[in-house]
């Protein structure tokens, strides 16, 4: 698998888009630090951007890479290689290069600004870990969609819809249900509903770690009680891990049964 990963990774590292993505984060990091003049505030602003942008880029890159490398995949399928090796290698190549762009692009400006001398380092690292998870999750979901759809346009459409649903529509439905059922106790429900959406989960996790949960009222207090503890952090990261592992498993499973 490492060979396929290597080739996919090099292939992406040579493409212009990886650099555009990297430079975007680099510029974003510098601009935020310059405007905010404060590491903690910059981390919060950054979170708002990462939570929406990282899934979108992961989704689009994943779908695009799968369809663009179809010929290469067919070439590999006739070689003495296991199918799961081919697809997982490509997946980790894409997700790995995206994660690298994110970590380097944001890491460089923050380190130059004096991250290591500040107490925001834990929050910043958490932000990067979550960014990495979101990349892995959404690239895996995108690969799944692309693998199940021969038609490029359809695959692309479904992938963007999935992103839109998880990033925007889910929150709307969630809020709507809270208003409709406001007479009932909703703590457990909202906690569970948050777990089912990796974007919401990431957002809540960072917000509560940043100690601004006081803004969130009573539910915020319940959330704080859960997410604020070490147990909450571990459970949340475990759920994010599950969100990564399940699509990857399905990818390997589906790849084994597909005709080319």
């Amino acid at each position: 698998m490492l060979k396929i990963l290597k080739y996919s990774f090099y292939d992406l590292m040579r493409s212009r888009w990886s650099y555009v993505y990297f430079l975007f984060y680099l510029v974003l990091g510098f601009v935020l630090l310059f405007l905010n003049n404060d590491l903690s505030k910059a981390v919060i602003t950054l979170m708002n951007i990462i939570i929406v942008l990282v899934p979108l880029i992961g989704t689009i890159f994943g779908v695009m890479y799968y369809y663009n490398s179809k010929e290469f995949t067919e070439l590999l399928l006739a070689q003495p290689l296991k199918r799961s090796t081919i697809f997982l290698g490509q997946y980790f190549g894409v997700a790995g290069s995206l994660t690298l762009s994110l970590v380097l692009g944001l890491g460089i400006p923050f380190i130059l600004y004096g991250l290591f001398r500040s107490d925001a380092i834990f929050n910043f690292v958490l932000l990067l870990v979550i960014g990495a998870f979101l990349t892995l999750i959404f690239t895996a979901l995108a690969f799944n969609i692309a693998l199940s759809n021969e038609n490029k346009i359809k695959g692309f459409g479904y992938a963007v819809l999935l992103w839109l649903f998880l990033a925007v529509i889910y929150d709307g439905l969630f809020l709507l249900s809270l208003i409709i059922f406001e007479e009932y106790p909703l703590d457990t429900f909202s906690l569970a509903a948050t777990m089912f959406n990796p974007i919401d989960l990431s957002r809540t996790l960072i917000l509560l770690k940043l100690d601004i949960s006081a803004l969130l009222g009573y539910t915020g207090a319940v959330f704080k009680k859960f997410f604020g503890t070490d147990l909450g952090l571990i459970v949340s990261l475990a759920v994010l891990l599950l969100w990564t592992v399940l699509p990857v498993q399905r990818l390997a499973f589906k790849a084994k049964r597909k005709d080319f």
């Binding site: 060979k3 080739y7 070439l75 590999l76 006739a78 070689q79 003495p80 290689l81 199918r83």
Partner: protein, 236 residues
Amino acid sequence: MIHIENLHKRFGKNQVLSGVDLNIENGGIYAILGPNGSGKTTLIKSILGMVIPNQGNISVLGQNAVNSWRYRQQIDYLPQIANFPSNIRVKELVRMIKDLRQKDSNEKKLIALFKLEPFLNKKLGTLSGGTKQKVNLVLTFMFDSPLMILDEPTTGLDPASLIQLKKLIQEEKANGKTLLITTHIMQFVEEVADEVIYLLEGQIFFKGTIDDLKKKTGQADVEHAIAAIATETRDA
């Protein structure tokens, strides 16, 4: 060498292979023929494990070929249309395939044979169809495997390269290899093939030598013999 039993494959509602039984012995050149859409490529891809059969058994060199991959180490495959990733160079592609297979290869001789030296540093996307096919041939013939599967090897080749290709095929046969070839060019079949396998509507309609085929259909040349099969069955 290859042993296929009761092979069925369906794509959606389209039944492509319906009960193919086939035995291919060691050594020799076998031409797989049949009208468009008769299942030639599906049969080949099933042998390669790229298409997963609905039913039936395939074994290649004594190893089960369904849901397994190691046996492909023994196969060199020439895909139908050379669909290569467009942004890598010829040299890089050759190096990559060598790296993936980890076998001895003689690509230098083949590159010289097909006069590909000027293209080694060009990206695959910029090559013409015929040149791509030559690269395709180099990638297939550079390894020494007992079984070779060639899907439409003549596509886009100029006469000089075609002669080289025929020579290469005969050399491989002399080395005791087994070659499976699909093509629509009957002259090519007549020149190289030892045996003909004729697929029709997802089944093997005829398997035997070219002379048998001519005798069976009462025609003097292969092209007419093949055409005769097609019309005969349509009338029936």
